[in-house]
C-alpha cells in the first residue's frame, strides 16, 4: 500500500519523465485510442520489467548501485543511450517490412516484424531504469524492505500508482488521422533522442572517469 501511495503522490513527475518518450511515439504512430492503449500497455510492461529488474539487481548486490555514483552513472547512461538510439531511429529512419519473397528473415527481419511494438516495450524498459526523482524515492523506501519479495512488491505497487498518471496518454489517438502530427511526432522523437544521447554520453563518460 505504501508503494502505491508513493506512486500516486509522485506520479505527475513520473509522467513528466515518461512523456518525452511516450508522447512523440504515440503521435508519430498516428493510431486510434484503442491501438494507443495497447501501445501504452506494452510501454508499461516494459517499465514494470525495468523496475522489477532494478529491484532484483539492487537487492541482489546489496544496493551497491545506489552507493557507487560511478556505477549508477553507467547504468543510467546506458539506459539513456539505448533510449536515444531508439528515438533517433524512430524519428529519422523508416523501418521497412522484410520482403518474404527475397527471404528477408533473420534477426533484423524478426525485429521489423515486431516494430513498433518493440519500440514501446524497449523504451518502457529503458525509462524504467532511469533514475527520475520518484524512482529514487521508491528505491530508498524499498531498501527498507527486508526481503526480495517485499522489495519486488513495493516496486510493483509503486508502478501501479505512477501508471495512473499515464492513463490519459492513449487519448492522443483522438488526434489520429492527421499526417502532420505524425511527422511532428517523429521529428520530436528524433530531437529528444539527440538530447538523450548527449545526456547518456556525458553520464557514461562520468561513470568511466569516476
Amino acid at each position: 500500500m505504501q508503494g502505491f501511495v508513493l506512486g500516486l503522490s509522485s506520479g505527475a513527475v513520473c509522467a513528466a519523465y515518461c512523456a518525452p518518450v511516450l508522447v512523440p511515439c504515440l503521435l508519430g504512430e498516428g493510431r486510434g485510442v484503442l491501438a494507443n492503449a495497447w501501445a501504452l500497455l506494452l510501454f508499461l510492461m516494459g517499465r514494470l520489467l525495468g523496475y522489477l529488474g532494478f529491484a532484483l539487481l539492487a537487492w541482489g548486490i546489496n544496493q551497491a548501485l545506489l552507493k557507487e555514483a560511478g556505477e549508477r552513472s553507467l547504468l543510467i547512461g546506458t539506459a539513456y543511450v539505448a533510449l536515444s538510439v531508439l528515438l533517433v531511429f524512430y524519428g529519422f529512419f523508416r523501418p521497412r517490412h522484410a520482403c518474404q519473397a527475397a527471404g528477408g528473415g533473420g534477426v533484423v527481419g524478426r525485429l521489423r516484424e515486431f516494430w513498433p511494438s518493440l519500440l514501446f516495450f524497449v523504451s518502457g524498459v529503458a525509462t524504467g531504469l532511469n533514475f527520475c526523482p520518484p524512482f529514487l524515492l521508491a528505491v530508498t523506501a524499498a531498501s527498507q524492505e527486508g526481503s526480495l519479495a517485499g522489495s519486488l512488491l513495493f516496486f510493483f505497487t509503486f508502478f501501479l500508482g505512477t501508471s495512473v498518471f499515464l492513463i490519459p496518454a492513449p487519448f492522443l489517438g483522438l488526434l489520429a488521422g492527421r499526417p502532420v502530427l505524425q511527422t511532428v511526432g517523429k521529428m520530436a522523437a528524433g530531437l529528444i533522442g539527440a538530447y538523450y544521447l548527449y545526456i547518456g554520453i556525458t553520464l557514461l563518460a562520468g561513470g568511466f572517469l569516476s
Partner: protein
C-alpha cells in the same frame, strides 16, 4: 514544393490618400508615441533629448509613409530591423556594464539574475502548473527584463496581435528578417513543405524535456540568439558543446539560410515560441484575408511570403495559414488589393483601408512603445562610442 522568387510587383491600383489626409490619420499616432516614448517627461540631458527626438521622428516618419504609400512591410522592416540591431547593442553593453562580460557565470545563475526572454515562455507553462515554480533563473518582478514584465507584455501582445508579435514585437526577429532581404533573388528556390512542421516538433520536444528535467532546454541547448546576447561561461566540455551549437545554429538559421532562401528560416521553421504564438492567431481580432473575388491568382503573395504561410490551398480558402506573422508583405505585393488586413467578424473586401489603419495603430504603437526605450539606449551607446570611444 514551393516555387520561389516573387516577380516584380506592379503598384497596386489602390487610391492613395493625399498628404494632408495621411498627416491627419497619423496625428493620433504622433500624440500616442510622444506619450509612450517620453513617459510624460522630457530628459534634461541635451544628448538624451536629441536621441529621443530622433527616435520619435524615426517612428512617425515611418508611420506616415505607411499610411501615405499603402505599403506596410517596406516601412515595418526598417523599424523592426533597426530595433533588433540596436537591441543587441543595448543588451550586450548593459550586460558588460553590470557583469563585466557577455557570458553568464554560475554565480549570476544561482542569484537568479538572468534576463528573461519571451522564447522561454512555452517551456515554463507545464512546470509552473506542476510545481508552481518558474524554471528560469530570472528575477520575478524587479530588475532588468523580469519574468512578470515579459509575461504581461506577451499576454497583451498576444491578445492584440497574435503571431503579429513575431513581426512587430520580437527583438530577435529583425535579424533573420534583415538577412532574408540581402539577396534580390533566392539561391534555394524550393523548400519542402514538411520542414514547416519542424517548429512544432521543436516546440513539442522542448516543452516535454523542460517538464521532465525542469530546465529550459531550448535556452540551454538550442537558442541561436545566445550568440548575440548572453551565453554560459565556457569552463567545461558542456560549455564548449553549447557554444558550438549556439554559433552553428545562428550562422545556419539566422544568416545563411535566410540569405539563400529569402525566407525567415529561424522564425518559420525552428522557433518554438513562434509555433506556440501561431495558436494565439486564433484569439485576436486581426488577421489577413484573401478576397477570392479580386484575386488574379498571380501567386505573388505565395512567392513573397517570408514565413511560408501562404499556399495555393490557403489562397483558395481565402486566408493564410495559422503561422502568418502579419508582416504585410503579401498585402504590399498584391496588385489588386485582394490580400488585406482584416478584422474578424467583418465582411472581407469592405473597408480595406480602415481595417488596415486600425491594425497598424495596434501593431505600430506596440512596436514603438516596446522598442522605443531600447532604440534610444542603443543609439545613446553608439553616440557615446563615437564621442568618447567607450560604450559603457
Amino acid at each position: 514544393m514551393i516555387p520561389e522568387h516573387p516577380p516584380k510587383a506592379t503598384p497596386a491600383a489602390l487610391t492613395q490618400p493625399s498628404p494632408v489626409k495621411s498627416l491627419l490619420i497619423s496625428l493620433p499616432m504622433m500624440v500616442l508615441t510622444l506619450v509612450m516614448t517620453t513617459g510624460g517627461r522630457l530628459p534634461s540631458d541635451p544628448l538624451r533629448l536629441l536621441i529621443l527626438a530622433a527616435t520619435y521622428l524615426f517612428f512617425n516618419v515611418l508611420f506616415f509613409l505607411m499610411v501615405h504609400t499603402g505599403k506596410t512591410d517596406r516601412y515595418r522592416a526598417i523599424a523592426f530591423i533597426s530595433y533588433a540591431l540596436l537591441f543587441i547593442v543595448s543588451f550586450i553593453t548593459h550586460m558588460i556594464e553590470v557583469r563585466g562580460s557577455m557570458s553568464l557565470s554560475q554565480e549570476k545563475i544561482l542569484l537568479c539574475e538572468v534576463p528573461f526572454c519571451h522564447l522561454v515562455i512555452p517551456m515554463t507553462l507545464i512546470p509552473a502548473a506542476l510545481t508552481k515554480t518558474i524554471i528560469f533563473p530570472g528575477e520575478l518582478v524587479k530588475g532588468y527584463a523580469s519574468i512578470a514584465t515579459m509575461f504581461v507584455i506577451w499576454i497583451g501582445a498576444s491578445l492584440a496581435l497574435g503571431r503579429g508579435w513575431c513581426s512587430w514585437g520580437c527583438f530577435f526577429g529583425g535579424l533573420d528578417d534583415a538577412f532574408s532581404r540581402i539577396r534580390k533573388s533566392p539561391l534555394i528556390k524550393a523548400i519542402d513543405r514538411r520542414w514547416t512542421y519542424l517548429r512544432w516538433a521543436v516546440l513539442l520536444a522542448v516543452v516535454l524535456t523542460a517538464a521532465a528535467f525542469l530546465t529550459p532546454t531550448y535556452c540551454t541547448w538550442l537558442c541561436p540568439f545566445k550568440s548575440v546576447t548572453e551565453f554560459s561561461e565556457v569552463t567545461d566540455f558542456r560549455g564548449v558543446v553549447q557554444t558550438i551549437i549556439f554559433v552553428s545554429l545562428f550562422v545556419a538559421l539566422v544568416i545563411a539560410m535566410p540569405v539563400l532562401t529569402k525566407r525567415r528560416i529561424q522564425c518559420s521553421l525552428f522557433c518554438p515560441f513562434g509555433a506556440m504564438q501561431s495558436l494565439t492567431n486564433r484569439i485576436n481580432a486581426f488577421d489577413v484575408r484573401f478576397d477570392t473575388a479580386k484575386c488574379l491568382n498571380c501567386k505573388r503573395c505565395l512567392k513573397s511570403c517570408p514565413t511560408l504561410s501562404v499556399t495555393e490551398e490557403s489562397i483558395k480558402a481565402g486566408h493564410p495559414l495559422l503561422s502568418c506573422m502579419k508582416c504585410g508583405k503579401c498585402t504590399d505585393v498584391c496588385p489588386t488589393g485582394a490580400a488585406a488586413f482584416h478584422i474578424r467578424g467583418t465582411p472581407v473586401g469592405e473597408g480595406r483601408s480602415l481595417k488596415r489603419i486600425l491594425f497598424l495603430y495596434a501593431a505600430f504603437l506596440f512596436l514603438a512603445t516596446f522598442s522605443g526605450g531600447l532604440i534610444q539606449d542603443g543609439l545613446l551607446r553608439i553616440v557615446r562610442l563615437i564621442t568618447t570611444g567607450n560604450m559603457i
